[in-house]
C-alpha cells in the first residue's frame, strides 16, 4: 500500500432484529477514489455508511478515519423554519468557513428560493441546500447516501461535477447509489 487510506473499515458487520445485514465487509478508500455501495433496498447500504461516519456503532469490526468527513444522509438536516441561506450560513459559522454563502447558493442554483423557509421549498431544492454544505469547507471524505435523489437533470450534472472536482483535488467519495452511476466509479462494494 502506497498511500495510507483516508478511511478504512475492517470486518464490519451489522445485525438488525434477528438478521445479519452484512458481515465481514472490509473497505479502504484513498484520495481520488470514488467508491459506490450497491445493493437491493434494505440490504444495508445506509447502515454501512452510518458506521463509516461514526454515527452508528458497528456490531463487529472497526472503522478508521484519518481525516474529517462530510455526511449527506437520506434526510437533509434542514429545519422547517430555516431558509436555505440561513442553513448554509449557520453551518459555515459552525465550521469556521471563509467561503461566501452567496457563492454557494449561486453554485447550487438556490439563489432564487434562498429566503423561502425550508418547509415550503421543493424536494429538489431541499436536497440542493443539503448538498451545499459540501462546498462550505473542504473535507477529504464525502459520505453520500443516494445523493442524486430528487435532483433534476441539471442538479445531477452539478453534483457529478462537484464530485469530480473533489476527487481531482485528492478527496474521496463513498456513495450509496441505485441505477446507473452518473460518476466515474473506482471501486464497488455490493451488499
Amino acid at each position: 500500500m502506497s498511500d495510507p487510506a483516508l478511511i478504512e473499515g475492517r470486518g464490519l458487520g451489522a445485525v438488525r432484529g434477528e438478521r445479519v445485514l452484512f458481515q465481514d465487509v472490509s473497505l479502504a478508500v484513498q484520495g481520488g477514489d470514488g467508491m459506490v455501495l450497491r445493493g437491493a433496498n434494505g440490504s444495508g447500504k445506509t447502515t454501512l455508511l452510518r458506521q463509516l461516519a461514526g454515527l452508528s456503532e458497528p456490531q463487529a469490526g472497526t472503522v478508521q478515519r484519518t481525516t474529517n468527513h462530510h455526511w449527506i444522509g437520506h434526510s437533509n438536516g434542514l429545519k422547517p423554519h430555516e431558509t436555505p441561506r440561513s442553513h448554509l450560513a449557520n453551518w459555515a459559522r459552525v465550521w469556521g468557513s471563509e467561503i461566501e454563502v452567496e457563492d454557494v447558493l449561486l453554485q447550487m442554483q438556490m439563489h432564487r428560493p434562498a429566503d423561502v423557509p425550508c418547509r415550503l421549498i421543493s424536494a429538489g431544492q431541499k436536497r440542493r441546500t443539503g448538498l451545499g454544505r459540501l462546498l462550505l469547507v473542504p473535507r477529504d471524505i464525502w459520505l453520500l447516501d443516494e445523493p442524486f435523489n430528487a435532483l433534476d437533470a441539471d442538479g445531477q450534472a452539478l453534483l457529478a461535477g462537484m464530485i469530480a472536482t473533489h476527487r481531482a483535488g485528492g478527496g474521496a467519495v463513498i456513495a450509496a447509489l441505485h441505477g446507473t452511476a452518473p460518476i466515474e466509479v473506482s471501486d464497488e462494494v455490493v451488499l
Binding site: 434477528e18 438478521r19 445479519v20 456503532e57 456490531q59
Partner: protein, 243 residues
C-alpha cells in the same frame, strides 16, 4: 469475585448451585425471623402495639431497596465502561426486584403509618418522599429500557439513566432531609451503635439477612433466565443463517 463471575459460563456454573442454596438459607432465616416477629417479640405500645411486627419486613425492605439501587447503578457503570455483557444482565434483573422491594417498603410503611401516625401517607415526610422517588427511578429505568428497540440500545440508555440517577440520589436525599421529617431517625445504623433492644434487633438483622439472600437468589434466577434466553437466541440465529 466479580471478575470471576464476569464470564457467563462461570457465572452459570456458580449460580446453578448458588441459587438453591441462597433460597434455602434465606427462607430458613426469614422464617425464623418471622416466627420471632409474630409470636415471640413483645408488642410495643409506643410504636402502635402489634403493628411493630411490620418492622421486620419494613426495615429490611427499606435497606434492600436502597442496596438494590446501588447494585443497579454499579452494574450499569461496569457495563458502560467495560461492556461486560453480564453486568447489563444483572442491571436488567435488579430493576424489577428493586421496584418490587421499594413498593414493599412503601406499602409496609404506610400500613405501619396508619395506626401510628393516623395517616397512610404524609406528603412532606422526607423518608417517604425519597423512597417514592426511588420507586420512580426504578420505574423510569424499566420504562426506558422497555421502550428501546434493541437490547444494546436499552442497555446504553438504561446505563446512562442509572448512573445519572445514582449521582443525583445523594442530592435528593439531602434535599428531602432538610425539608422535614416525621419518620424516626436511624436507630440501628448509626455512629453510636444500635439503640434497639436485642429482642427486636436480632430478629430484625436475621430477617434482613434472610431477605437479602432471597433477593440475591431472585436476581440470579432472573439473570440465568436471561442468559438462557440469549443462548437460545444465538442458537436460533445460527439455525436461521444456516438455512
Amino acid at each position: 469475585m466479580w471478575s470471576i463471575l464476569a464470564n457467563p459460563h462461570r457465572f452459570m456454573a456458580f449460580s446453578r448451585y448458588a441459587v438453591p442454596v441462597c433460597y434455602a438459607i434465606g427462607t430458613a432465616l426469614f422464617g425464623w425471623a418471622m416466627y420471632q416477629a409474630l409470636w415471640v417479640v413483645p408488642s410495643d405500645a409506643y410504636q402502635g402495639g402489634d403493628i411493630i411486627r411490620a418492622m421486620f419486613i419494613h426495615v429490611p425492605s427499606a435497606w434492600l431497596c436502597m442496596g438494590l439501587y446501588l447494585g443497579l447503578a454499579g452494574s450499569s457503570f461496569v457495563w458502560f465502561i467495560w461492556r461486560h455483557e453480564l453486568a447489563d444482565i444483572a442491571a436488567r434483573a435488579i430493576a424489577p426486584i428493586g421496584a418490587g422491594y421499594t413498593a414493599l417498603c412503601l406499602a409496609t410503611g404506610s400500613i405501619w403509618g396508619k395506626p401510628t401516625w393516623g395517616t397512610w401517607w404524609l406528603w412532606d415526610d422526607a423518608r417517604m418522599m425519597s423512597v417514592l422517588v426511588l420507586f420512580f427511578l426504578f420505574l423510569g429505568y424499566m420504562a426506558l429500557r422497555a421502550a428501546m428497540e434493541t437490547r444494546q440500545k436499552a442497555a446504553r440508555a438504561g446505563a446512562i439513566l442509572a448512573m445519572v440517577g445514582a449521582v443525583n440520589v445523594p442530592l435528593i436525599k439531602f434535599s428531602v432531609d432538610i425539608w422535614s421529617s416525621l419518620h424516626q431517625g436511624p436507630s440501628v445504623i448509626r455512629a453510636e451503635g444500635p439503640a434497639m433492644a436485642a429482642v427486636y434487633l436480632n430478629p430484625l438483622l436475621i430477617s434482613f439477612l434472610g431477605q437479602g439472600l432471597i433477593v440475591a437468589a431472585m436476581v440470579f434466577t432472573l439473570m440465568r433466565a436471561e442468559v438462557f434466553g440469549q443462548q437460545a437466541d444465538a442458537l436460533m440465529a445460527r439455525r436461521l443463517s444456516e438455512g
